[in-house]
């Protein structure tokens, strides 16, 4: 199994402009791709057997002022996962949709827009709300969103004379 993964990694490295690659386990590897090359990379990976899009998600790298978009593809024949990563700007996050390659991306992109505020050009439905109702704050999965501040603003404080704390202490929840 390790062999076929090495072959695939070598193929991918030859064809695509891979910035960085990482072996995560013997059935999974990750590649970093330039922002402009993701569509080419996904099309190529789809053509060599990674026919299923498992998930599109996003990681807020607030220290580097970046969002990292994550595309995870599954190759059912070989039993391999590939994680395609690309960095986009955090201040004005926008990217181009991949629904023309994987139609299933439609709702994943809509969710990333809702929770991180990344807009996807070409996927108009991604601007509609999906899970949150009447949301009036910054997108909630960003690291600078603080649920405590939000709930203090949104809900009335209840007075209680008992305070329950965990015994291990020090964990601010």
């Amino acid at each position: 199994m390790m062999n076929s993964m090495n072959n695939i990694m070598k193929q991918v490295d030859d064809v695509l402009n891979v910035l960085n690659k990482e072996v995560i386990s013997n059935r999974q590897f990750a590649i970093d791709i330039n922002k402009g090359d993701v569509h080419q990379a996904l099309t190529y990976l789809k053509s060599i057997g990674f026919t299923q899009l498992s998930i599109i998600t996003c990681v807020d790298l607030i220290a580097d002022n970046k969002f990292q978009l994550i595309y995870i593809l599954n190759n059912w024949e070989l039993g391999l996962f590939v994680i395609v990563r690309t960095d986009i700007d955090r201040d004005n996050p926008s990217y181009v949709t991949v629904v023309n390659i994987f139609p299933g991306a439609k709702y994943y992109e809509r969710e990333v827009h809702e929770f991180f505020g990344v807009t996807f050009e070409g996927n108009d439905s991604s601007f509609k709300p999906l899970l949150l109702e009447i949301w009036d704050d910054i997108p909630p999965l960003r690291k600078d969103f603080d649920p405590q501040v939000y709930s203090d603003r949104k809900f009335e404080k209840r007075d209680s004379d008992k305070i329950y704390r965990s015994k291990i202490g020090g964990v601010k929840l």
């Binding site: 995560i24 386990s25 059935r27 999974q28 990750a30 026919t51 299923q52 899009l53 498992s54 998930i55 998600t57 990681v59 807020d60 994550i70 995870i72 599954n74 059912w76 039993g79 996962f81 994680i83 994987f102 139609p103 299933g104 439609k106 709702y107 994943y108 929770f115 999906l130 899970l131 949150l132 109702e133 909630p140 999965l141 969103f145 649920p147 291990i168 964990v171 929840l173």
Partner: protein
Amino acid sequence: MKEVKLFLGPQHPGMHGNYSVQMYVDGDIVKKARPTPGFLHRGFEKLMERRLWMGNLALIPRICVVEPDINEMVYAQGIEMLAKVEIPEKAHWIRMMILEMARLAIHIMGLGGIGGPTGLYTLTYWAIAQRDLILDLFEEITGARVYHMYIVPGGVRKQLPDGILEKLSELLDELEVKIPEYRELGLKHPIIHKRLKDNIMLPEDVVWEVGITGIGMRSATNKEYDLRKVQPYARYDQVEFDVPVANYSDALTRVNIKYKEIFQSIRILRQVIEKMPKEGEVRTKISTGSALRWKVPAGMVYSAIESSRGEYGYFIVSDGKEMPYRIAVRGASYPQGLLGIEKYLVDCRIDDASLWMDTMGVCSPEIDR
């Protein structure tokens, strides 16, 4: 004729959980369908970022109500992959036993659940009663009936109680006799058979377009696309089992595959009882630190297993601290529950809509999280 807007759910006997579909119907044919998730959104992904790695264990089973163990398994497996920890041999076998018992429970419930939208409630009552017998065993092993929190990072929480394997063996004997009765009563019933046969089709190109996994995928592609076979985890490479497949996917085929998978789970459990090591530890430490406060090395990993509805995965990012940096949940019914409903519930009859959800395997808590 003018189209009428109809709400299927969130309060509807044919609906699984708190989910809603807005259907625009002409006569009794659905012309347009819009999934409306969000009734069960509890912000799990954000909550997980603000709790200890160990504390999350009480949270994650709630993501999928009827099959909670898969959450514990993907979470534990992901952490072990990040920390590069090898867990004791016996723990692998116990995990496999728990996962297959959970699969049995949900498949029996799903098989009986077909009685809901078709109107044969006897099947549902039987199924709930049979499932309860499995929950009794879960209670004995883990102390809880529904949310077990038994599979923990590093192994399982504690040793199996004495005599549990014998009890499981007896239960399997009973199930093997009882489950064929479901077929006699339900799947061979002329009315149900007529409702399911050649109805609610799932062509192969739709599988690839939408990204459906699990029974839907295997019933349409005729390939053994099951993560237990394709990427064996736990000790699935050391037991023998078949993956039922088909190349014509109507509702009846998918229910039949579910029926056959019950017997494969029983077959796996019998081998687990036989092959499980009698002695040995069941838990190891992930890293130094107290039992509750420990750190996971920095890195990112996608951990996935085969749930009853397909590929179920967590994408876990750690920055080396006591809490996760980011966890994204890939619910197995996400593709068919959103894009699938939007595109392919169209042209279905109103009374088949809840049957559509049932046989495609739509589970609302894992879509909402």
